[in-house]
């Protein structure tokens, strides 16, 4: 294979070679082909206060009491933030393309150190306002001290055409608890590239849920490392995709030490021409005995032209483990729809109900009731709303 290929216009603008399908991790998401216009980085864009407020109001969590921190077009917005940025140094050792791009172009991001029990959720809001196409990159670094606990929400919102690159590093100390919820509601003309890198210590309880429903092109990587024993992590996600949306998630759950448990659950709903991809990998390193790792991905294809691809991978080097994965793909169960219809529920409503129940399983493990209710509400409305718009 020759590497001397002509740069695309998008690569020219970024000064950066985009990953392509000949790279195993990108086989289903060829950025060279999918990113079809230039998004120059480091562009200063002034936002109108009205736009910012309208977008903040469109967060599905706007009704929840939360301490907010707002970033507009890649810069901290003091006027709309309740929480000030502190200084926490990045320690990430990642070198994947999304991260390299982020290192080069990130302009700002949340830097937080959590100590003690923080009851009120912290919501980090990332906004891109309508302007000429550009790359907006942010990098968040979050440290959770030993014995601390918190709930952190990441909300991505925007209008117009842009490329959002978001990298989050999370270090969770011993005996700590962290719930992380990410809602990706980018503009439908946007590209969203993200990487979340989490390292959890001894006896940690970690919950992570990502809702992917915005942007025309999504690629989200997750790297979860267990470095202390007896930790428990649940990583889940839901796709609600329509039109020509494309979403690809690649997770690597790395059990480096014994006695940890991990669960991944992905529920993917695709309508119209949407394409959902799930690539999950569980690694059990030599010596990581008594690992309990389970992974499952389920796809619901609502139209004949939608598509789902999955690559659930296991790489295991220890024998005393219980690991497994499951993947399914199919249509809505016609019997279920029939049952509801025979009880007088109109077809559209019956389908919406079944879809909401299907994705609901993925955020069941979030501790905060308000967040769960907001997600349930969004899931219940999604089908009718996107079909009305489309």
């Amino acid at each position: 294979m020759s590497t001397a290929i002509a740069k695309t216009a998008a690569e020219e603008a970024l000064g950066f070679q985009l990953p392509h399908r000949r790279m195993e991790d990108w086989r289903w998401t060829d950025l060279r082909q999918l990113i079809d216009k230039p998004y120059p980085p480091r562009q200063k864009v002034r936002a109108l206060p009205g736009d910012v407020e309208r977008l903040i109001g469109s967060s599905i969590f706007s009704g929840i009491a939360a301490t907010r921190m707002v970033f507009v077009n890649g810069e901290y917005d003091a006027a709309h933030s309740k929480l000030a940025n502190s200084y926490v140094e990045s320690r990430s050792e990642l070198s994947d393309p999304v991260n390299l791009m982020n290192v080069a172009f990130a302009t700002d991001g949340a830097r937080l150190r959590i100590e003690g029990n923080v009851d009120t959720p912290i919501e980090l809001i990332f906004i891109a306002t309508d302007a000429s196409p550009r790359t907006v990159a942010t990098r968040n670094v979050i440290e959770v001290a030993d014995d601390a606990s918190a709930t952190i929400i990441e909300t991505h919102l925007g209008e117009g055409s842009y490329l959002a690159n978001s990298v989050t590093e999370i270090w969770v100390g011993n005996n700590a608890r962290l719930d992380r919820v990410k809602v990706e509601l980018e503009s439908h003309d946007a590209v969203h590239l993200a990487h979340c890198h989490v390292v959890v210590g001894h006896s940690v309880t970690f919950r992570d849920f990502t809702l992917t429903t915005g942007a025309k092109l999504n690629r989200q990587d997750g790297t979860f490392r267990f470095v202390g024993e007896f930790a428990d992590a649940k990583v889940s996600g839901a796709y609600m995709l329509a039109a020509k949306q494309h979403a690809d998630t690649r997770l690597v759950v790395d059990h480096e030490v014994p006695n940890c448990a991990s669960r991944e659950l992905f529920k993917c709903v695709m309508d119209d021409h949407a394409r959902g991809i799930f690539q999950g990998k569980v690694i059990v390193r030599p010596g990581a005995q008594k690992t309990d790792g389970k992974q499952s991905s389920h796809a619901l294809l609502l139209s004949e032209t939608s598509e789902f691809d999955a690559k659930p991978e296991l790489e295991i080097y220890a024998d005393d483990v219980a690991c497994g994965h499951g993947a399914t793909s199919g249509d809505l169960n016609h019997d279920h729809v029939f049952y509801l219809k025979s009880r007088g529920v109109p077809e559209a409503e019956a389908k919406a109900l079944l879809i909401a129940a299907f994705v609901g399983e993925a955020f069941d493990m979030i501790h905060h009731d308000g967040i769960k209710a907001a997600l349930e509400d969004f899931a219940a409305r999604w089908l009718t709303e996107h079909r009305r718009k489309g």
Partner: protein, 504 residues
Amino acid sequence: MADIDTIALVKDIDVDKYKYGFTTDIESEYAPKGLNEDTVRFISNKKNEPAWMLEARLEAYRRWLQMDEPTWAKVSYPKIDFQDIYYYAAPKSVSAPKSLDEVDPKLLETYAKLGIPLKEQEILAGVRKQGEKSDLDEEGSEYASGKVAVDAVFDSVSVVTTFKAELAKAGVIFCSISEALREHPELVKKYLFSVVPQGDNYYAALNAAVFSDGSFVYVPPGVRCPMELSTYFRMNAKNTGQFERTLIIADKGSYVSYLEGCTAPTREESQLHAAVVELIALDDAEIKYSTVQNWYPGDAEGKGGVYNFVTKRGDCRGPRSKISWTQVETGSAITWKYPSCILRGEESRGEFYSIAISNGRQQVDSGTKMIHLGKNTSSRIISKGIAAGRSDNTYRGLVSAHRKALNARNFTQCDSLLIGDKCGAHTVPYIEAKTSTAQFEHEATTSKISDDQMFYCMSRGLSQEEAVALIVNGFVRDVLQQLPMEFMAETQKLIGISLEGSVG
């Protein structure tokens, strides 16, 4: 009962040594060492092939020169020096497949030692005497079942094919591929390279250029092949690669069951085996292909052993056709093998049953591809991987449904069993659903033999090794049942041998 038999069989096995590691001292004729266009011409000339075949070989060789060795599999080995291999080795006493009476007794002896009877009056051990009536025989059938026709391939040539006359009565053509090229060129030309083209992949291209022999089967329309067909591959000569090519065509409404077995002597140097198998099932036809692969796996330190780089693919070309692959992989230092099914015909069905056992320093990267193209196609994958010692065992598979493959259905189950903490078991499945009417289910688990199971067996008086063999045989049972009778007993024994010395 079956369990008791298993234990008895395991007990019978004397040492943890590769049983088939002997060498036959026979004078062989070689092609000059190394690979170039002359080597290709030499082989083609030896086989008296038609001109178009030589052209096809040279084309494949030229394509091969342009290709890179694949590196994506989870295996590692020193780079192969393709110029340090003999591409053709044939016992001098064999010029063309002959009748049994003319075969060199030394060769007959070799096969007898391997437990493969080449005499027509004999039947593979453990089944039933020939001529004995079976409930399975159709009323008034003139062929009593239980017979197995064997094509014996020794290094680069086919030594003999048994039961040819009896098969010919039914219209079945079963011979070596070199013979088919001479006797039935029109059939070979029509189907060869139609499933695995010359430039399909690196090793398939190499095989297309230098393949020396292999089996050819053609079952005419509506014929149920009266007996099991089988090929037995034996590598003997030193520094020789074996490149065989098998082509099986089941014409409309026919059925054939085919078995393949392989062994090689114990040698310090690694040997290359790059085979290609093409299966074609036309309308309503069914092919059942079973392999028991027991090439020399190398010694405990990973020295020697066969590199098994094989391309196997079946094409369900006609509606309602069916292809089923069953494989038992216990040998080879390195296995790189993905028997696949292209489900082109409507309502066609593909099946893949696999047991892959690795011990010592063996590396296995095997699996299947089920490509759903036609409407209402279905496939089923059951894979059981067992890793022991310091081995690595990977399942790699693809299930895909194209947009027009309405109502495609797949069920996949791959289970891995780890014995010891120095080995690795990996699962790398790819699932691609391009239509909402496709229903795919995939399930995988990895575990070890639980202490409770061991304790239970041992409290009943089984030794540790017996208990392991018993539990493992239970673990692979789903697949074992898919094997033809003749291979089942043999395979259970093989599982015992392969895992010997893996516990304690």
